[in-house]
Assembly symmetry: C2
């Protein structure tokens, strides 16, 4: 007998049939004697429909009213799911974020959870009821409805699991787990049985968007066992995301690399021959940050003579043109020189794995594999558990597949 | 400078364009220096859409979850209207029933308002803000969302006006006021400038469904000046519904009759030659009430000899067949005799007016007018301010027009 917090996203509750399927799934856990708290998102498409209505009325709607509006999406789902459970003879009660007591700060549309009241949920669970909670939303101390921002339902699930000290937080989604890389790019990709929080964070931020990054951070911080699994297929174990300390670092069986992430959504900009004045990096990136443009990778080389510097960084593809403009009109005049190069036909490929901490030679092996395939590396950056390279867009699939094989991630072939 | 509570129903907020039109209307009052609290319903069609979703999942959804579900309808509208007002530069804040503090009992789907907290609304009004409140909904003392039942937004409007001691509660709808009768049946029908609460109650319950009956009762009880007016046309004065005491009963100018209501939704059943045993009426109507069938008019005649009774009553047309069956299978055997007659091709026509209290002869004039048109009266019932007759369906238009002219309700012709 365990306590599970189960979160179902928008496609998993996207229709009356899907909602009934969720109820059936919950029933199995109840029949097994487990207690269940269910967190649901808005039915797929609903949030966009509501935001569409708002934008027809006011192109800059007040964040408070936007939260008031979109929070109805999950409220519809919790009521329907409670009805579906009741139809199956399972006692269930639904709660909005405000009702269940998910208190947040007042940062509308991107609120942060401050505390969660668990008394009412505990009472329901003790009475044999399934508790159905609206994800993504909360309430501030003044009683205003807030939302946690898009994808925040994952965070709700993990936060409830932490507050209730649940045995596991299960995130049901449209994939059956976390993969070594995107199966659409590399057919040999395989599902990971487990992955550390840190690895998951690197994979998530790099494009394997299975889970919302805040939810993973939360799970790590509060030591919540987190499992990603499919709401469409039955019975798969999914992928368990574990705190780093649970990992047996001495095990020779552990793979060095957990997965390969990539993103095609970046563009690269380089300032060549910039005068190497004090604080040059800040003077380049300051005006870009002022424009609310996020910078990802940064590489700086100082010329041997020491007078000039080459500075390269990446931004999201959508920010490429604006960034060029800022560099040309503000930064280069300010620095008194520099030659601008840009490229938005690039991709970033990253190896992720806690195993690489204790193993030298991962980077050199990565570079060697890419060289063998005649793939030029345009940029490199490294962290403790990640190595990222920027390469030409056209080499994406080739690079991912070659690295996937070279680092032993391929699933056994049917003949093995 | 006055305080208005303005209620807009589903068709008045049925689209983004209509919501903008409501905001424009509110702006005019604000520019005039008036304070405004706006109560809105769900966008037309939305409540039915939500109930449709529920019925696909559970044919007997729990009332609590049904309230959780349908209350999202108004929540969407309040957010959109607040955004529309803000777009026009008018500070506005939206509140759900729970947030604004409309406390009800726990009778889900038909809750009754217990108390209303006004502090927060007053604070907003004093700060120059328009307060936008979700109609139709409240919250019980345990924090469960409740609804007042269909049409309950009118009640919300009147209740807020009473709690805030507003100068007027304005109900905007798709007609421009209360008419002497249905203009579709009688082209000479005219809009009433004012009508008493009692008259309005009789007219509303008889089919002139401009306003929810509970809202009118509420207005009478708390002496709230209530005005019905069009949200589509501009500038019309509508119809003011006033407490009876405001009416100058001595005025010779006051018409005797305020309006003519009718309903074609009834069927008539008669038990002839029933043994006149003690409690016969209860023994006839008891089994019908047990089947949750509502009885409207009741007429009983005792035969001169005193041994037999003729008993006639009306029910809604949809209950006609079931009522026949109950009479045949339960009541007649129980009473030991009786002959059943039924007719579902009837209509009920009613004269309504507080003026008739002090004037004899209204009934005889009504019967004379109908006789002149060769209309047979099948049933009669009277109250202090109403006389209803049941006639054959085919005579409906003829009867309404003849009575409308005879009682001086026709609007002046263009030539006058």
């Amino acid at each position: 007998m365990a306590l599970y917090v189960q979160k179902f996203g928008g496609t998993s509750v996207g229709s009356v049939e899907r909602i009934m399927a969720v109820a059936e799934r919950v029933r199995k856990f109840r029949e097994n004697g487990d207690d269940v708290v269910v967190v649901v998102s808005a039915m797929s498409g609903e949030t966009n429909r509501l935001i569409g209505l708002a934008s027809e009325i006011n192109d800059e709607p007040s964040p408070r009213e936007l939260d008031m509006l979109v929070s109805t999406g999950e409220q519809v789902t919790i009521a329907l799911l409670a009805m579906a459970l009741q139809k199956l003879g399972i006692p269930a009660t639904s709660y909005t974020g405000a009702q269940v007591g998910i208190f947040t700060d007042s940062a509308h549309t991107k609120a942060r959870i401050q505390r969660i009241e668990t008394d009412e949920m505990r009472e329901d669970l003790n009475a044999g009821r399934v508790v159905v909670v609206a994800g993504f939303q909360g309430v501030d101390e003044e009683g205003n409805i807030t939302t946690l921002g898009r994808g925040g339902s994952d965070t709700t699930g993990v936060a409830l699991a932490a507050a209730l000290k649940a045995d596991e937080c299960q995130i049901y989604t449209d994939v059956d787990g976390v993969y070594t890389t995107d199966p659409r790019v590399c057919s040999k990709a395989q599902r990971l049985d487990s992955i550390t929080v840190e690895e998951m964070l690197e994979l998530a931020s790099l494009g394997s968007k299975v889970l919302q990054i805040r939810a993973v951070e939360f799970a790590g911080k509060y030591n919540v066992p987190l499992r990603v699994l499919s709401s469409f297929e039955d019975g798969g174990p999914g992928t368990l995301i574990v705190a780093d300390s649970d990992q047996d670092e001495d095990s020779m069986e552990e793979p060095l690399i957990s997965g390969i992430a990539f993103t095609a959504n970046e563009a690269k900009l380089t300032l060549l021959n910039t005068p190497d004045v004090p604080g040059v990096a800040g003077r380049i990136l300051g005006p870009i940050a002022d424009a609310n443009i996020e910078v990802d990778m940064i590489v700086q080389n100082v010329a041997p003579a020491g007078d000039y510097t080459d500075f390269t960084f990446t931004v999201a593809k959508g920010d490429y043109k604006q960034t060029r403009k800022i560099l040309e009109e503000t930064v280069i005049p300010d620095l008194g020189g520099g030659e601008l190069r840009g490229d938005d036909s690039i991709v970033k490929v990253s190896l992720v794995g806690v195993g690489m901490r204790s193993h030298a030679g991962i980077a050199s092996k990565m570079f060697r594999v890419l060289a063998q395939e005649n793939i030029n590396i345009r940029m490199v950056s490294t962290s403790e558990i990640k190595i990222s390279v920027v390469i030409d867009e056209k080499h994406l699939e080739l690079a991912v597949r070659a690295l996937h094989t070279a680092f032993g991630l391929d699933k056994p072939s049917e003949d093995d």
